[in-house]
Amino acid sequence: MSQTITIRKGLDIRMKGEAERIISDTQRSSSFAIQPPNFIGTTPKLLVKEGEKVKAGTVLFFDKYRESIKYVSPVSGTIKEIVRGAKRRIMAVIITPDSEIEYEQQQIGDVQNMNRQEVKQMMLDSGLWPFLKMRPIDIVANPEVSPKSIFISSFDSHPLAPDYDFILHGKDAEFNAGIEVLKKLTDGYIHLQVRTSSDEVFMNAKSVKLNIVKGPHPAGNVGVQMHHIDPINKGECIWYINPQDLLIVGRYALTGKYDATKTIAVTGENVKNRKYFKTIIGSQISSLINKNDISDNSRIISGNSLTGEKVEENGYLNYYDSQISVLPEGDQYRFFLKDGWLSAGFSKFSASRAYPTWLMPKSKEYAIDTNLNGEERAFVVSGQYEKVFPFDIYPVHLIKSILINDIESMENLGIYEVAPEDFALCEFVCTSKINVQEIIRDGLDIIYDECM
């Protein structure tokens, strides 16, 4: 049965800087990068050297501890540089693209005729596997097991997030082809979560269980959806995939080519020309944003302002991101009465009723910068996280059990169900400015090392 779930706890952060719904082409990026740190828990072993020629779909590296998982090049060209960091850790594989993309062409039979093992092998060898991520732990899925279900969230509720209804409109063929592939991977359901009225590409999707989700962010997080529809117990796993990444899988099933084209939203109040741009995974930021369009003293983020990562202008889009956010850096002192901690605060956005945000009209958009708005303190206020955390889990107690490395408590309190992005709102509203997402990530790493 399809379900309708209403998320009551959460917060829609009403930021300025939404992108206009116009899709533009961009200049082809002059440089691409696949960055192993984007794949948490993966230790890369290189199969290419600097100077080597690759096609789109050629394997660049594989996971040292899960050798069947391959990571491929998004474009054809020459390996320009292998960037290494501390302890010779591989930070990025940089590729200079050819003017025309050449694909590794594969002969694909009809997916309907393949069995589970053949489909898995196809995805692993072609570099499609990293699009599948798993809960618990929120890393690339483990091909040795089968999940109890697969989840797809058709909408992203993060601040200024791209509108997948707009991006995927009309792409029914590829979307459904992707679903056909996913069907082979699990005995359970493929759950597709939509809003009350989403685009027909989602509403008419075949072979899925359509679930309607209402409510504020984090309603779009797969973790929240899983918790309400098919909660994970210790020993189980669920896989999930982003809708645009599913298009890439579907494209491969239909054509045999690894075509990593994506549509990215450029958002944030500190950038002009806020539109959607067609590009390829791993593009350089400068190909999507003109240097002159960025205001002074800005922070460029690959991803959204809650879970994204800061990048430089000559940096690269992270593998899983469909959004760039450009925010003003808040590195000024504020006088306490004028716009500091004791001001009337009409221009500040706050989830707390101590600021007048809750009295203002819901349509008002706020200019939010990267100021910490306080200093880091111990946990003082209680009940704050619970207001934006729609899980039957006690967030502060889970965080504390991670801080003291108490694995049994972590398991008992629900670590298997959560990922750092589910705690991003808790981190946002925290009075004590605690870096919650980092703590959760550490906890998940401990569990992965010790229990899985």
Binding site: F335, Y355, T370, L372, R377, G383
Partner: protein, 402 residues
């Protein structure tokens, strides 16, 4: 404000210039962050953060305390002149001045002693001073009787900050409410100065007035517990508490009765409580369940009756003895209260219930509310543990049926 900014930037530079003075940065930092929200930007995790911070939270509590403080100043003077019989002749300014001369030194001593200890710990541990004492420093004078010696307040504050807070790790780590720890220290160490008939009205010791006992309402009521209801002394107390008497419901509600400086006026406490609830700073769960617990106990004992104390209507009982002040400002302290939402109901109810029970059944402890909140503070982790255990059991059950 640029000139202010320059002053602080120069001060920071000077203090960081030599190794010896570097560790004194908390002194500059505390003033700096009081006047300016710092320029720190997010380095990890979410790039944007809510505008709320601990300073604003604490400052709202202090603002909520201001009605109690101002009324307390007035009432201290009022009680003094009331006993002298001079209320008709003395001016408003005289009343305020008398009250201020008692209360303001207490505030100064409390903040001075507490911040002194906090700074020592900050400099020793190398971190900035934290905002916890902003509120405790204001609470401590408000729960002291008018004539408490200043050196006692200083000692109690130092004890409370060191033993009640710093040894546990500072702000956010304490088990017991800091202000109540200070009060409890004095209550047990110097009981004659904290209870009885002579300390509540300022200057009472030097007055030679007949016809007044100097006791608080609870002090008078406590003396009736062993007396029959129709005993003349008991009847005298009953008259004071009935309509028109000096301790009647209206006076108890408005606060024109002797008691600790800030806790006499239920009205002022409710005003502060309204602000705290409106801004979401204090937990309504704790306040409501605290009131419910206290009311239930008072109601039950009222039904039992048997003497003038128990015959007092429940609602009047709750206006006396710091119950309202404890409900709004002490029990709601987020660090020491239960931290789960379900736990807050249990915690609040327990504290209110025990508060009334302790003071009515044991007349030697009119401080029932203070002790009850401290007990509830100790029980809070256990209450949370029980609530979380049921959450864990639910999860394990789901695992078994999966």
């Amino acid at each position: 404000m640029k000139f202010l900014r320059k002053i602080f930037d120069n001060a920071h530079k000077k203090i960081n210039s030599s190794e010896k003075t570097k560790k004194f940065f908390p002194l500059i930092d505390s003033m700096d962050t009081l006047l300016f929200t710092p320029n720190h930007i997010t380095k990890k995790g979410a790039h944007i953060r809510d505008g709320i911070d601990l300073k604003r939270t604490m400052m709202l509590v202090i603002i909520a305390l201001i009605p109690c403080l101002l009324f307390g100043i007035y009432n201290t003077g009022y009680q003094h002149y009331s006993v002298l019989g001079e209320l008709g002749t003395v001016s408003f300014l005289d009343i305020i001045l008398t009250g201020a001369l008692v209360v303001l030194p207490l505030v100064v001593v409390s903040y001075g002693a507490g911040l002194f200890v906090e700074f020592i710990f900050c400099i020793r541990n190398g971190h900035a001073i934290q905002e916890g004492f902003l509120v405790s420093g204001m609470l401590i004078p408000l729960i002291m009787p008018a004539d408490v010696p200043l050196w006692m307040v200083a000692m109690a504050t130092i004890f409370a900050v060191i033993i009640g807070k710093e040894v546990f790790g500072g702000t956010g780590m304490n088990i017991l409410n800091v202000a109540l720890t200070a009060r409890a220290f004095l209550f047990f160490a110097y009981p004659t100065k904290m209870s009885g008939n002579k300390v509540w009205i300022t200057g009472y010791e030097d007055m030679n007035v007949d016809g007044s006992s100097g006791a608080t309402a609870l002090g008078d009521l406590a003396s009736t517990v062993d007396l029959a209801t129709n005993d003349p002394v008991a009847q005298g107390v009953a008259t004071k508490l009935s309509d028109g008497g000096s301790f009647d419901l209206m006076n108890s509600f408005l606060g024109f009765i002797p008691g600790s400086i800030g806790e006499t006026s239920a009205l002022m406490c409710l005003l502060g409580g309204a602000l705290l609830l409106w801004t979401g700073i204090a937990s309504w769960r704790v306040m409501v369940s605290f009131f419910a617990g206290g009311f239930l106990m008072a109601f039950v004992l009222n039904k039992m009756g048997g003497n003038v104390y128990f015959d007092l209507p429940a609602i009047h009982q709750l206006m006396l003895g710091g119950f309202m002040f404890g409900m709004v400002f002490m029990a709601t302290d987020p660090v020491t209260a239960a931290q789960t939402n379900t736990g807050k109901y249990i915690y609040g109810f327990l504290a209110g219930f025990l508060g009334i029970l302790i003071r009515m059944v044991n007349p030697a402890y009119p401080e029932g509310v203070m002790l009850a909140i401290l007990i509830a503070n100790v029980f809070a982790p256990l209450i949370d543990h029980m609530v979380i255990s049921s959450n864990i059991k639910r999860r394990l059950k789901r695992l078994k049926t999966a």
